[in-house]
């Protein structure tokens, strides 16, 4: 069979699937084709979507590929679905970031890093399937340890955990603070404790 026939099959599979399809899964379905030609078909399809200025992209997320709408058209889609869009609060994002970069991590460790009680946020993230319980830590009290899920990768359009944006260096951060010249504090009273 020709390459274009295979490409057409692959496109149909992506169209019907409601979750990202991995290459392994595709190859298992397309058992009569060899892996390299399936890979080539996926790559060709991706290119075609990207080149033709279509409203659909074949995005690489959560270890697989998925047909998604073009980010530029978000406004119009929001009109279509009327306000039912996904939103994360500041505290949810902060907690997710801590867990994503430091997993496996206990709630107490999250709370130390954030400086605030995070029980409620952790529960919400569990319910939203952004994080999951990985097990228990072998320290007194046997606290639960958490990590992120596939759903998290899907929601944030991440290929895998390695493609999380790199954490900034501590030195770099301190530098940003140091740039601001040590100024005299307006609130420092002369009859000082200093």
């Amino acid at each position: 069979m020709t390459a274009s026939a295979l490409k057409s099959i692959v496109e149909s599979l992506f169209f019907i699937s409601d979750a990202p399809l991995t290459l392994e899964r595709l190859c298992a379905i397309l058992e009569e084709y060899d892996k390299s030609s399936v890979e080539a078909a996926v790559a060709r399809l991706r290119e075609e979507y990207a080149e033709a200025g279509r409203g659909i992209c074949l995005s690489e997320v959560a270890g697989g590929y998925q047909l998604r709408s073009h980010p530029e058209n978000a406004d119009y889609i929001r009109r279509l679905i009327r306000g039912k869009t996904f939103k994360f609060s500041r505290s949810a994002l902060e907690t997710l970031a801590v867990i994503a970069y430091r997993q496996p991590i206990t709630r107490a460790e999250v709370e130390y890093l954030r400086g605030v009680d995070s029980g409620g946020v952790v529960k919400t993230l569990l319910e939203k399937k952004m994080i999951r319980i990985l097990g228990k830590k072998d320290i007194p009290g046997k606290p639960l340890i958490y990590g992120t899920t596939r759903d998290f990768l899907e929601a944030f359009s991440l290929k895998d955990l390695a493609s999380l944006p790199t954490l900034k260096d501590i030195q770099e951060l301190a530098g940003a603070f140091a740039d601001a010249e040590q100024a005299v504090l307006p609130l420092e009273e002369p009859a000082g404790e200093e």
Binding site: C57, A100, Y101, P165, A178, L187, E188
Partner: protein
């Protein structure tokens, strides 16, 4: 819990807006507030003027109280930490014989936490910039109806405990709230339910989790059935399967070890 940014001139007609700007969104926590104060005062994070920052910090807490915002305990803990750091800085350094033993700056621990926190805050900002599914990008969500509740594939993943409890919670929610209280023995034992469940799945490839909970649903019935399923799992007489997360949970009999387990079951519940 954020205060709406009210137009300054209507609330405080004679106030100079630049003199006293109240940040309107609430702070995530004491670390957030401290970072804000450090940045606002443009001080070196490695050389924080603790006295001044503490004063501003406490003023801020006072303000939050006036605005009737709940002050979480963490804010107070941080306040006492700041005061403690200041008092340690005021104490003369203990005279150390060996010169190499350098006294650590009392602020070091706090600075480390602040910088670490700042890191994750920036990471959170970057996460927020990702193309969020359901906000910037959208994918088809609905499964074609005939694929819904599909039979498990050949090697479906085992069910996670959290999901099992989730399913149990969903079932309990279906139980009608009893409007009266009746005391009386229900007369249903886990052993009975185990046998009923076994009868139900005998000879079948698998049945759905919901099929085991047929009307009339009472709390006892649901709980006893759930415990029966857990017991059966423990005895390795059934397997719980789920094709995908959120999917239907299937219960399949395990034939091979059945007889040995049945004996154990008999021993445990025969008394």
């Amino acid at each position: 819990m954020s205060l709406a940014p009210a137009p300054q001139d209507t609330l405080f007609p004679d106030a100079d807006p630049s003199a006293y700007t109240v940040r309107t969104e609430s702070f995530e926590g004491p670390l957030d507030l401290l970072l804000y104060l450090i940045r606002k005062n443009e001080v070196d994070i490695y050389n924080i003027p603790i006295a001044a920052i503490t004063r501003q910090y406490l003023e801020y807490l006072e303000l939050m109280k006036e605005l009737n915002l709940d002050i979480a305990g963490e804010f107070l803990v941080m306040a006492s930490t700041l005061v403690q750091i200041k008092s340690r800085m005021l104490l003369p350094a203990p005279e150390v014989e060996e010169a190499e033993e350098v006294e650590e700056d009392p602020r070091a621990e706090l600075v480390k936490r602040l910088l670490e926190y700042q890191r994750y805050r920036e990471a959170a900002d970057q996460l927020a910039e990702c193309e969020l599914l359901g906000r910037e990008v959208f994918a088809r969500k609905f499964a074609p109806p005939e694929l819904d509740g599909l039979k498990p594939e050949e090697t479906p993943p085992e069910v996670e405990l959290f999901e099992l409890i989730e399913a149990f919670r969903a079932l309990l929610a279906k139980v009608p709230e009893a409007s009266f209280h009746e005391v009386g023995a229900e007369g249903m034992t886990i052993a009975d339910r185990i046998n009923e469940v076994l009868d139900l799945i005998r000879g079948k490839e698998s049945v759905t989790f919901e099929r085991l909970f047929t009307a009339p649903l009472t709390r006892e019935y649901v709980i006893v059935t759930f415990l029966a399923i857990l017991e059966l799992c423990k005895l390795k007489m059934v397997r719980l399967l789920q094709a995908n997360s959120f999917g239907v949970i299937w219960i399949a009999p395990m034939l091979l070890e059945g007889e040995a387990a049945e004996e154990e079951l008999h021993d445990r519940f025969s008394s």
